[in-house]
């Protein structure tokens, strides 16, 4: 899905649908509001004119503009969104904004948040450790570009993980049928909205780390510097182009706090391009430096602390990583939270020693299931599903009414016949991961998840994609982790929840604004003109 936007990765993708169908809004607003019949003409300069048939008055027409949020609301092409993305979220847009700030009166304050996967990718590309890369990035943003604050997305991710786990446990307790599906991957969300709206009721509406981080960062920086939220320009470094689409989704609770929470999303690829195109101004590696000889920073926490907002809760929450998959570990954290939840519900029964977490493989490495066992009985399950083809198999299983075919009597009898023929083979019921029967599914559109996002830096020509990915995963794993639910007292969790409820009180916003997103079924076009031009055959 990212592949469309980057035209890069060739294995996984969704193909574009019909042409753009954005209805042209009548913005011209002719005099006294009445609508004369008009004709479109082209003047001598090739500019379009609208000529009234009633009085012959001509007025210049403005070119139609399509914004990213239009593209999100449309069932049409996703490719034209690419152009819009380039315009609204390009590295040129950032350099332009920085340049404008230097030359103009109205000063904006620049802040950045950097995702774990992007840090790993950049560190891999430059052959340095993640800590060294963090230092170089902070230097680039703060010292060279004049950013006031830089944070990792860890606090946002921790909140996202906590809210997500609570949400699933809540749904499981309420007896909601079917699995809860994660909505952290915007490529998957968009695909579901456009082509499989029946899965929307299954989707968890917890916001992603990027959006939660954005909300917190802008609010805290605005208060710290005593400026308006609107004067803050937030750049987010993400492994995936689809994160641009996510940042462009209008907020549902916009009234409470002006959006956007993220102004510009850049991928590691684009960041490298930006630096390469502006070598006279910016450099990631200090000039004349042998990168292999860069010293390991003695203590990163001081550096992290200097560039985080003063009221950022705990510094390790700015940059640390989490257990579980390299997409963020959503599936793992749900099960860890579930275990704590059970232990808290009845400490006399649920002895921590009797829990066990087992992993069951699927038909390929991008599908697996984790089961939480208590006294060898399954008490909860969560699956990880990455990549388009695996998502396909999941959504087909979740489709209502199609279950009739799978319970086809013919197939049942054939199965029975087969079982009889293979009497000796008792273990024919091989245990394979079935995400559609889990409590929760962590879904990412890219094969291998976010660590392999479309915006991550590609391997150099002489390195295989597999080997490259393994080295990036190693770097990701080298980032220090914090324990959330996997520490017995879950101190970190209660600390974070305590802090976030304080934040909500202090800033007078709702928990919904901070933590919830929403989904739309994208309508099919009905406009005749759109059909005329849009129907491809």
């Amino acid at each position: 899905m990212s592949a469309i936007l980057s035209a890069d990765d060739l294995n996984d993708f969704i193909s574009p649908g019909v042409a753009c169908i954005k209805p042209v809004q009548n913005v011209s607003g002719s005099k006294d509001g009445q609508q004369d019949e008009v004709e479109i003409q082209i003047d001598q300069d090739g500019e379009p004119l609208e000529v009234s048939k009633a009085d012959g008055e001509a007025s210049k027409l403005n070119p139609a503009q399509i914004s990213l949020s239009d593209c999100l609301a449309c069932s049409g092409c996703i490719t034209s969104a690419e152009e819009v993305l380039v315009a609204q979220h390009s590295h040129n847009e950032l350099t332009r904004a920085l340049e404008e700030n230097r030359t103009q009166q109205t000063k904006k304050v620049f802040v950045a948040s950097v995702s774990h996967q992007s840090r790993a990718s950049l560190a891999g590309a430059y052959g340095v450790s993640v800590a060294v890369m963090d230092k170089l990035l902070i230097d680039l943003f703060v010292a060279q570009m004049g950013f006031t604050h830089v944070v990792g997305t860890s606090l946002g991710r921790s909140l996202s993980l906590i809210y997500e786990a609570q949400n699933i446990i809540d749904r499981k307790t309420r007896g909601v049928s079917g699995p809860t599906l994660s909505s952290v991957c915007p490529g998957w969300v968009l695909y579901a909205e456009k082509t499989h709206p029946y899965v929307i009721p299954h989707m968890s509406d917890v916001k992603s780390p990027q959006q939660i981080t954005g909300c917190l960062l802008k609010s805290l920086v605005a208060r710290e510097l005593g400026i308006s939220r609107d004067n803050i320009y937030h750049v987010s470094i993400m492994p995936c182009f689809d994160k641009k689409l996510e940042s462009a989704r209008p907020e549902k609770y916009d009234g409470e706090l002006p959006s956007p929470d993220v102004d510009c999303v850049l991928t590691p690829k684009e960041l490298v391009t930006l630096i390469e195109e502006n070598t006279n101004i910016y450099s990631l590696i200090p000039p004349h430096t042998d990168i292999t000889k860069l010293p390991q920073p003695a203590s990163m926490s001081n550096i992290y602390k200097q560039v985080a907002p003063k009221t950022w809760p705990s510094i390790e929450l700015a940059w640390a990583s989490n257990e579980g998959s390299s997409s963020g570990g959503y599936a793992y954290h749900y099960l860890a939270a579930l275990q704590l939840h059970l232990m808290a519900s009845d400490p006399s029964v649920y002895n921590p020693q009797e829990f066990e977490l087992v992993t069951v493989g699927g038909r390929n490495s991008d599908v697996y299931e984790m089961r939480l066992l208590f006294r060898k009985e399954k008490v909860g399950s969560a699956a990880v599903v990455n990549g388009f083809k695996n998502i396909q198999n999941l959504v087909r299983r979740l489709k209502p009414s199609k279950s009739t075919v799978s319970s086809n009597p013919l197939a049942n009898r054939r199965r029975a016949r087969l079982a009889k023929a293979n009497k000796s083979d008792d273990s024919s019921d091989t245990d394979q991961a079935d995400p559609s029967k889990c409590d929760y599914v962590e879904i990412m559109a890219c094969p291998n998840g976010c660590i392999n996002g479309g915006g991550q830096i590609s391997p150099p020509g002489d390195v295989s994609a597999k080997e490259w990915l393994a080295s990036i995963i190693d770097r990701y794993r080298s980032i220090e982790t914090i324990s959330l639910f996997d520490s017995p007292d879950a101190r970190a969790v209660s600390d974070i929840i305590h802090w976030s409820s304080q934040f909500i009180d202090e800033f007078n916003i709702s928990e919904m604004r901070l933590s919830k997103t929403y989904f739309n079924t994208v309508e099919k076009p009905t406009d005749q003109a759109a059909l005329l031009l849009g129907t491809k055959w």
Partner: protein
């Protein structure tokens, strides 16, 4: 060439034909949204065995019978293979059809092995066996143009105007679940046809982008990838067909494929690259190779030109090694290999379906073992030919 029988099958275009590998069954696909299964028995005048209807909302474009369990070379002996058929439709779905195990089969214990086989064949091709829908596979975004089973019947490939090929994995016995294991999007346009090699997991696809592409599975991580591209046709490639490794004229070191195109030509391509890698991958130690080894293909020959209009279908006979092609001009052309790489026209039939276009040709074996050609045309007829 002589017409054995013309069956008025459909009131609208007949698009595609398939014969079961071991049973004398022939299936059709038509614009009238149905598929009809006939018994290829001249003695009983090619009776209708089943009509498969009410499951597709648009034309049935393609049909193919599933190969027997274990493949034709090493058939599974401990369980009787029940025939099954895949139909691909313009409504973007694939339907899978099959029959119940006939009750009479269970009473056959103790009879002579040869007799049993004969009775099996009769029972499995009887109109009393009811064909019913076993699965309906969704996934493609637009019209499905072709479906094909691999030689073992555990993989089904489908292609569509949405420019993708999907490979579905299934249990070839129960045909219960079809899991997508690959989505291949190498073609830049509408994909017209897919076909598998008759004895190995090598897939070929023909496209509106004027190329044929070949795909294999990586030995390390099971991912499917494009391993070859055939450039040469100057127009849509409508169809391709592999040479069977047991067909006369085939050689062990060489894989050959014949392709038919809108450019009015039929071409033969060959690949001798069994183990050799490309220069690029030679530089790497084998442990690092992430892509399946690329195959080197070359155009071996262009068959003598015998069509005045686009060639829609081509078929390579396993039995006799001959090639047959049909197209818009209504001609059936049969080519024969005459010495190394030299092909001559052995036979030609004009107006095989009157003034109508001919959409499909396949080689088949009639119940009595005679090799015949079957063609399907815009007139809705299926014609059977003796050479």
């Amino acid at each position: 060439m002589k017409l054995i029988k013309s069956i008025k099958s459909h009131n609208e275009k007949a698009w595609c034909l398939s014969q079961h590998q071991t049973l004398p069954l022939l299936a059709t696909a038509s614009t009238d949204k149905t598929s009809i299964i006939y018994k290829l028995s001249a003695a009983s005048d090619f009776p209708v065995i089943a009509k498969l209807e009410d499951s597709h909302k648009r034309s049935v474009r393609a049909v193919q019978f599933k190969p027997p369990l274990g493949g034709e070379s090493e058939p599974v002996s401990d369980i009787l293979d029940l025939p099954a058929l895949a139909c691909g439709s313009f409504d973007s779905t694939i339907s899978i059809w099959g029959i119940e195990e006939p009750d009479e089969l269970r009473e056959l214990d103790g009879e002579d092995e040869q007799d049993i086989q004969k009775i099996h064949k009769t029972l499995l091709t009887s109109p009393k066996s009811e064909w019913s829908l076993m699965a309906l596979i969704e996934g493609h975004e637009s019209e499905i143009k072709s479906v094909a089973w691999n030689y073992q019947g555990n993989l089904l490939a489908s292609c569509s105007r949405d420019k993708t090929i999907w490979i579905w994995e299934t249990d070839p016995e129960t045909l219960e679940e079809f899991d997508c294991i690959a989505v291949l999007n190498d073609h830049s346009q509408d994909i017209k046809h897919v076909t598998w090699h008759p004895t190995q997991n090598l897939l070929a696809s023909s496209s509106y982008d004027d190329t044929v592409r070949l795909y294999k599975q990586d030995e390390d991580d099971d991912e499917w990838a494009c391993v070859g591209i055939l450039n040469g046709h100057d127009g849509t490639v409508w169809c391709s067909s592999f040479e069977h490794s047991s067909s006369p004229g085939s050689s062990e070191e060489k894989v050959r494929l014949v392709s038919a195109s809108d450019d009015k030509t039929v071409r033969i391509w060959s690949s001798t690259s069994k183990e050799e890698g490309t220069t690029n991958s030679e530089k790497l130690p084998s442990s690092l190779k992430s892509q399946p080894k690329e195959m080197v293909w070359e155009e071996e020959t262009v068959l003598p030109i015998a069509h005045d209009y686009p060639v829609y279908s081509v078929s390579w006979s396993k039995t006799s090694g001959r090639i047959a092609s049909v197209g818009s001009d209504g001609n059936i052309v049969v080519y024969k290999e005459d010495g190394m790489k030299d092909w001559i026209i052995e036979d030609k039939m004009s107006y095989a379906h009157g003034v109508f276009e001919v959409n499909c040709v396949i080689w088949c074996l009639l119940e009595d073992g005679e090799e015949a050609l079957a063609t399907a045309g815009d007139d809705g007829s299926v014609n059977l030919w003796r050479l």
